[in-house]
Symmetry: C2
DNA sequence: ATGAAAGCGCTAACAA
DNA sequence: TTGTTAGCGCTTTCAT
């Protein structure tokens, strides 16, 4: 910028004015400055700018489990779109759902003075984040509510979604319904399990612990769990898979075993229609978008009490949960 | 940091020493400083640090078409992993394959003084980037080579992959093979088309322009193209789909029309095995990883001539390209 | 309409 | 072992 000023034969401040399109610069002068800027290929240093200016690095942070998981990728895309329309860029980090990684990531983001944070929290307490919030960091929680502090969040109605999935299976004649999910320490899984159990109870059916497999972390683990279930003396006749990873694993296992069990998965996924998989799902795009809106409102000065936005998942019947196997249209 | 110094009763520089774990601080002093840091919840301002220190904001930028596309998401994940193991974070931006958006994104990243850039370039000339490169910005191109400048790149052998896909179909008795892809202005598509044409020619078959549909940008467009092809007087008996989006569209259209055409797609995708889709694909994870390695080597001072790394795609036969429809294992 | 000086939070270079 | 000074590139405040 100093170089630009020198070439244009003006002071540093005048260049700053031109760059920021402030008023009070004679057109002729501005012209000269612009020419110098082009000649040098000058780009304002945003780091220096936000250092001086105090707040506003025009950068927001997003912490998710894994960008390679389409559910998270959709969230990331929605947040990015909102951010860019407001002139901000997005730093995305994958925590692998591990608390220590999440904490490290948040640290790296805060150290770079992001204006705000969107976080899909890993299991565990987040009291340590309360400290940051108290210090003025704006955080919005996605998919799972914060544990140990009050803050904005956008979540799905997981209990309702789980109940709907299982009711659907029951309505189609399935009786022994298994549930496959990640560890119940993950908030969403616990809630979906609660919905599962509630639906069974209201139908007067027992909640058989042998049919609950809440430990697999990935598709392979889910497939293994299904194989085990199939060897039970009284195997299940249907499965409720708690998220997209689980559903993929269940599909593989069922196909390999040529076992025509009923199936409803939580979360939609590409090609689910071709595979005829019935799902209960909410919109990741909407979750990311609403979360970003919430965050930018806070950054804009909104200081109303923390809000929790609950999105309702919907059931999409495609054949796998309806007993009579239908060819998808 | 000044506050920390005050509370600990030391000078600013001493705090800096402790924060950077430089030598020459008495343990007792360091202890006091650490206590003050904890008390205040102090975090070093990385922006100020890199402003002073000149280079190294420990941030790299990645420009891709769309994070929500699993192919790009895999690249992003691989880059992120490499970046973090080196203490850097990743700013990811989606260009939607539009040149103007790409340019805007690169501008936003450069303005934030990222240490380096990984770019999957949209179609068009990139001479404007040459200017930046000349100025010392490190850029590595992914998936498509740069046009209009010399720089490191990691690409697939697209011609070879396209040829292999079509040879495979020919070997299994298909004769009229259509090709569906994005616009040939996209480098990868043009190359894959060349491979397609080469395979036909070496088999002594004509390259029928009516069977080439190189205009759809998304899955829906690809599906439309297939529907059109099926109404031809002499419809194709097989399709080569040029990327994962196209393959998805083709699958939908073929399934809807109950048309058992042969199909080989470029790029692998989740559940392709369950759908029995034969693909030719390279590893997005390897592409991202190798690209990141290249970039970090440059950032580390490597100034050898620009390199181009070519990854070979492999063919995975799953049924859709082998005439005799096989149940996947 | 333009410029000079101070300072954002930090580190490099040099004292003490 | 510790502190002082200067300055990274910019914006703010106050002059001119």
């Amino acid at each position: 910028m100093r170089d630009v000023a020198e070439i244009a034969g003006v002071s540093l401040k005048t260049v700053s004015r031109v760059v920021n399109t402030e008023a009070g610069v004679r057109p002729a002068t501005a012209e000269r400055v612009d020419a110098a800027i082009r000649q040098l290929g000058f780009r304002r240093n945003e780091l220096a700018r936000s250092l001086r200016h105090g707040r506003a690095s025009a950068t927001v942070g997003l912490v998710i489990g894994d960008v390679a998981n389409p559910f998270y990728a959709s969230i990331a895309r929605a947040v990015e779109t909102r951010a860019r329309s407001g002139g901000s860029v997005l730093i995305t980090g994958s925590s692998d759902e591990v608390g220590s990684q999440e904490r490290e990531l948040v640290g790296m983001l805060l150290t770079r003075r992001v204006d705000g944070l969107l976080v899909v929290p890993a299991a565990g307490d987040h009291g340590w984040l309360a400290e940051e919030v108290r210090r003025g960091v704006h955080i919005v929680f996605l998919d799972r509510p914060p544990h140990g502090l009050v803050a904005d969040s956008v979540v799905f109605d997981n209990v309702g979604g789980g109940r709907r999935a299982v009711r659907h299976l029951l309505a189609h004649g399935y009786q022994r319904i298994a549930i496959i999910g990640d560890a119940p320490s993950v908030h969403t899984i616990r809630e979906r399990y609660d919905g599962y159990a509630a639906a069974l109870k209201e139908a007067g059916l027992p909640v058989d612990p042998r049919l609950a497999r809440l430990s697999p972390h990935d598709a392979e683990g889910a497939a293994r769990a299904v194989r085990e279930l199939l060897t039970l003396p009284e195997p299940p006749d249907a499965v409720f898979a708690c998220n997209n990873r689980m559903t993929v694993g269940v599909l593989h296992a069922l196909r390999a075993a040529r076992a025509p069990l009923g199936l409803v998965g939580f979360d939609d996924f590409e090609l689910a229609d071709l595979l005829g998989v019935t799902v209960v799902s909410g919109s990741a795009v909407e979750m990311g978008g609403r979360g970003a809106d919430l965050l930018f409102a806070r950054l804009g000065g909104d200081d109303r009490p923390a809000r929790r936005i609950v999105l309702s998942p919907t059931l999409v019947a495609r054949g796998s949960g309806e007993r009579v196997s239908e060819e998808p249209a």
